[in-house]
């Protein structure tokens, strides 16, 4: 009898929307815990490894099969990209909303907005890339948005380590040209 997580992952992988929603909700809970820890620890710089820890804890809880790990990394990458880009849009909307409803202007607002714009530019460019080189787009999703390691990315996209390294390099070059 496979655990709940395995079932959810398989269903989500088969395109089952409720299962996917449930998984996102579960992952979100973990991210929230992470957020709380960040707050307590005030100065946390390496958020990538924290998020990464969060994935691993999530995976350990579920007694997963090898295949499920791939599904999970895939899903995590998609979710992180979605969450971050949604948040970026929201922040930019705040900026456009103007001062009337803005209570306080944070110091780092300007750099945040610049970053938000960059994220959305990458997001859009990835859409294009996905049309011509879908695997490369997924590699960027895994590496850049989700902070997965090369090995995990290879698992997620079902390619060899070597080809993932090559894809990452080529995709970065392509994106660099496009976003220049």
């Amino acid at each position: 009898m496979p655990g709940e997580l395995t079932q959810l992952l398989q269903a989500a992988n088969d395109g089952d929307q409720p299962a996917l929603n449930r998984l996102v909700a579960l992952l979100y809970v973990d991210l929230k815990q992470l957020a709380h820890r960040c707050r307590r620890g005030s100065q946390v710089l390496d958020t990538t490894s924290l998020v990464h820890e969060c994935y691993l804890r999530f995976l350990e809880g579920g007694r997963l099969e090898l295949n499920d790990r791939a599904h999970f990394f895939n899903l995590a990458a998609r979710v992180m990209r979605q969450l971050l880009c949604d948040f970026a849009r929201e922040r930019l909307a705040d900026k456009r909303g103007g001062g009337a409803v803005h209570f306080e202007l944070r110091e780092d607002d300007a750099s945040e907005w610049a970053e938000a714009e960059r994220f959305l530019a990458v997001d859009q460019a990835l859409e294009r890339l996905a049309e011509i080189e879908p695997v490369r787009a997924r590699v960027v999703e895994c590496r850049f948005f989700a902070g997965l390691t090369e090995e995990e990315t290879a698992e997620a996209v079902g390619r060899s380590l070597r080809s993932v390294q090559r894809d990452w390099q080529l995709a970065r070059e392509w994106l660099g040209r496009r976003l220049a």
Binding site: A25, T47, A93
Partner: protein, 809 residues
């Protein structure tokens, strides 16, 4: 962007992600099981950048209802403006349109977070759905959507965030717009451009200006652009997109209705546009549409609802287009001018009615419908008021309204005058004559004058047959005649009559028929297939009729109620009792609201409900309901209740089915006397009454009298309704068993069971299996008899009938 920024994990290390985490840690989200307002959170459905969507149900026990509960995240509370929010919410809650998910409730949490409870809409996003559809169907989806948006705009409501994820297509292929007005509610609280979607933000939204209807039109245009996907489309559709998404709001379509109208043109004009006759053909289509009567009705509604500006504007636009290519379209121009004159005359006419309201009425109070109609009818009947063509439109429109209200006496003189007028111009406008006659035929049918109805409808068909531009009128008349034929009990013939209409409905030119005609045809086809026992096809047609009626007339309309009641009929046969009962009660509730006097429609719904109650083991309720049904039927036809011929027929039928033959017998005998006194009773009346009586006689050993009744049936004729034929076979089998002929009885029963194998007819079938058991016993086949009895017992239990002998199973 620097290469450095695109490093592994780069997205997780900047200020944006830190802010995201900070927000995550600060904001308290609703939890499963928590109660907010009148709602309890059940589970999470999904989350996005601006909030979380939960499934929630009413927690105050007022009634059962599940909603999509949207909770808007945000790191700051709503600054004041509660009054604005409350007003806007009230307006939104008043939206009632089949293609818009309603806002049910809304509020703020103590921390000032906004939440909204919306109708639960299921389905895929419109762009997902679009991938599997041909271009034409995609444009049709958008066309439907435009009408819904227009409905809201007319009520002063703006969506503000039309985009693929806010348009869900259900499994019937109907699009539904969700999150109506939420953008604006958010705007009221958080500024006009809060949380907008970059790809779908109109130029003025991006500039941070206030939301307007023009912004919705831009988004509809943008959606159309996305939905055409990589399909290469003609210059006409491109022009529509360009106009809808014009940079300057003033250059866009003036209303969603105007955009819808243009999409409608494109849909109607397509077959010939491919042959290169684009603009001219479109014009011809428009002219045809406006020559048809229904366009006048539509204009009338538009005039009443929106003020005349829109309807006349649309026609004026076409006139200008026609002028531009006047050389090749002189004739079309004349027709357009005529249509324009008609619309204007109708407009002036209707406005005049309102202006001439009673002196005593306060300025802001509308005159009541009855007074308006009466005044309108007086003017339309007065020959000097306006030219013939305009008068004809008014007469028919008013007659139609009266007929819808069931006031045939008031409609009759209007129709007669309309037919006279149309005869004068039959040469030039055959479709007018056909339409007017078709309505006259329908009225005769409703009044039980079958022969006159048939003659009038035949004349209507003849007037329209093969005439250019009269296709819809012909289909309308033919559909009415098929319906009449079916009502007369000639089911197979009715189906044959509808075959050419059905063929047209299935072709890609279906929308050359007016929606009202299509609705009638779906309705008739569903009813006929149902009568023939093909419930699968019946349901197929019926669900299209239900959707069409809802779209055409609204969810609270008489038309929709009729289709719901009819749908319930098929559901009963398929054993879907719960849904059937719901639909029947909903239909009755609507009838109660619409009619303040007895009508046959409600009587029929009561009758179906009585059947349902009888088939689900509620005999007392069933008898009460059939009493209400037949009483209303008699009252609707102006006959004394006790003497109404169908009253005893239906009582007898149900009592016998509920195994109370002693009570059924006097009822059926009285019904038979009444039928025999009638000139031309519908065939199934006298036949079925005899069959049921024969069953009683033979069961009680009065073999000779039972057999005599069956012989009379043979003389009367044949029925092709499946349920009737199965009943008849059951009666024959009863008499064959009594006469000691098991082989004949077995054959008759097997045919009967094959004819009616509907899950909902468990009661009928249980009785037939039991009789089959008796026949097998008589034939000495004890094992088969045992199996038949068992089968009967199982079915009997399923039908909710108590049976002491079933305890052994």
């Amino acid at each position: 962007m620097s290469d450095d920024a695109l490093r592994p994990g780069g997205a997780l290390e900047g200020p944006l992600f830190r802010h995201f985490l900070k927000q995550l840690s600060e904001v308290r989200e609703p939890e499963v099981g928590e109660r907010i307002g009148a709602w309890r959170i059940l589970r999470e459905l999904g989350r996005g950048g601006s909030g979380v969507v939960f499934l929630a149900e009413r927690a105050d026990g007022a009634y059962t209802q599940q909603v999509a509960f949207k909770w808007l995240r945000g790191d700051r509370p709503v600054p004041g403006g509660r009054g604005v929010l409350a007003r806007e919410r009230q307006l939104l809650a008043s939206l009632d349109h089949p293609n818009i998910a309603r806002l049910v409730d809304g509020g703020e949490t103590e921390q000032g977070m906004l939440w909204f409870a919306m109708d639960l809409a299921a389905g895929r996003t419109i762009t997902e759905q679009a991938r599997e559809l041909p271009l034409r169907a995609r444009v049709t989806l958008l066309h439907t959507l435009c009408s819904a948006v227009d409905h809201a705009h007319r009520r002063g409501l703006i969506h503000g965030d039309i985009k693929p994820s806010n348009v869900l297509v259900d499994d019937r292929g109907q699009p539904r717009l969700v999150d109506f007005g939420i953008a604006r509610l958010k705007g009221a609280a958080l500024g006009p451009s809060y949380g907008l979607t970059p790809d779908y933000a109109s130029p003025e939204q991006r500039a941070g200006d206030e939301l307007t209807t023009a912004s919705d039109i831009w988004q509809l245009g943008r959606l159309l652009e996305e939905m055409k996907q990589s399909t290469r489309v003609g210059s006409e559709l491109e022009a529509i997109i360009r106009r809808a998404t014009a940079e300057v709001p003033e250059e866009r379509y003036a209303s969603a209705a105007a955009l819808a109208a243009d999409l409608g043109h494109w849909l109607a004009g397509r077959p010939v546009a491919a042959r290169g006759g684009g603009a001219a053909y479109r014009l011809a289509c428009l002219v045809r549409r406006n020559r048809a009567l229904s366009a006048v009705v539509i204009s009338a509604v538009a005039v009443i609802v929106a003020g005349g500006a829109w309807a006349t504007w649309q026609l004026a636009l076409e006139r200008d287009a026609a002028r531009a290519s006047a050389a090749q379209a002189q004739a079309a121009l004349e027709d357009t001018e005529a249509a324009l004159a008609r619309a204007r005359a109708l407009h002036d006419f209707l406005i005049g009615l309102f202006r001439a309201s009673e002196a005593g009425l306060p300025r802001d109070q509308l005159p009541d419908t009855g007074a308006l109609l009466e005044r309108g009818a007086r003017r339309a009947l007065d020959g000097d008021s306006v030219p013939d063509a305009e008068r004809f439109g008014m007469l028919l429109t008013l007659a139609e309204v009266y007929m819808t209200l069931g006031r045939n006496d008031q409609a009759r003189p209007l129709l007669e005058t309309a037919v006279q007028l149309a005869r004068r111009h039959a040469q030039r406008r055959p479709e007018d004559l056909a339409h007017a006659l078709a309505r006259q035929g329908y009225m005769a049918m409703a009044e039980g004058q079958a022969e006159r109805a048939e003659a009038v409808l035949l004349e209507a068909e003849a007037a329209a047959e093969g005439q250019r531009g009269a296709e819809d009128a012909w289909a309308h008349a033919r559909t009415r005649r098929a319906w009449l034929t079916w009502r007369m009990g000639r089911v197979e013939q009715a189906l044959a009559l509808l075959a050419p209409v059905d063929e047209r409905l299935r072709s890609d030119q279906a929308d050359r028929l007016q929606p009202a005609t299509r609705l009638q045809a779906f309705n008739a086809l569903a009813s006929i297939h149902s009568a023939l026992g093909d419930h699968r096809r019946a349901l197929e047609y019926r669900s299209r009729a239900v959707a069409m009626a809802q779209r055409l007339h609204g969810a609270d309309s008489r038309g929709h109620a009729i289709q719901l009641a009819n749908l319930a009929g098929d559901e009963i046969r398929l054993g879907r009792f719960e849904s059937a009962e719901q639909n029947l009660r909903r239909a009755i509730e609507l009838y109660d609201r619409i009619f303040d006097r007895p009508v046959v429609l409600r009587a029929a719904a009561y009758g179906n409900l009585a059947n349902l109650l009888a088939y689900t083991g509620r005999p007392d309720d069933a008898l009460e309901m059939i009493d209400a049904s037949t009483a209303e039927w008699a009252e609707a036809e102006g006959e004394p209740v006790a003497e109404h011929v169908w009253r005893d027929y239906h009582f007898g039928r149900l009592l016998l089915r509920m195994e109370r033959p002693d009570e059924a017998r006097p009822r059926l005998e009285r019904a038979l006397d009444r039928f025999d006194a009638l000139d031309q009773p519908p065939l199934h009346g006298p036949i079925m009454t005899r069959a049921w009586l024969a069953r009683i006689e033979c069961r009680e050993g009065a073999l000779a009298s039972g057999q005599a009744l069956l012989t009379e049936i043979d003389r009367l004729g044949a029925l092709d309704n499946a349920a009737h034929r199965a009943d008849l076979l059951e009666a024959r089998a009863s008499c064959l068993v009594a006469a000691g002929d098991p082989a004949g009885a077995i054959e008759a029963l097997e045919r009967s069971l094959e004819l009616v194998d509907w899950p909902g007819y468990a009661l009928h079938r249980s009785q037939r299996w039991r009789l089959l058991g008796e026949a097998f016993e008589l034939a000495g086949q004890r094992e088969r008899a045992g199996r038949a009895f068992d089968r009967g017992r199982v079915l009997r239990a399923r039908a909710g009938m108590a049976d002491s002998s079933s305890e052994t199973e």
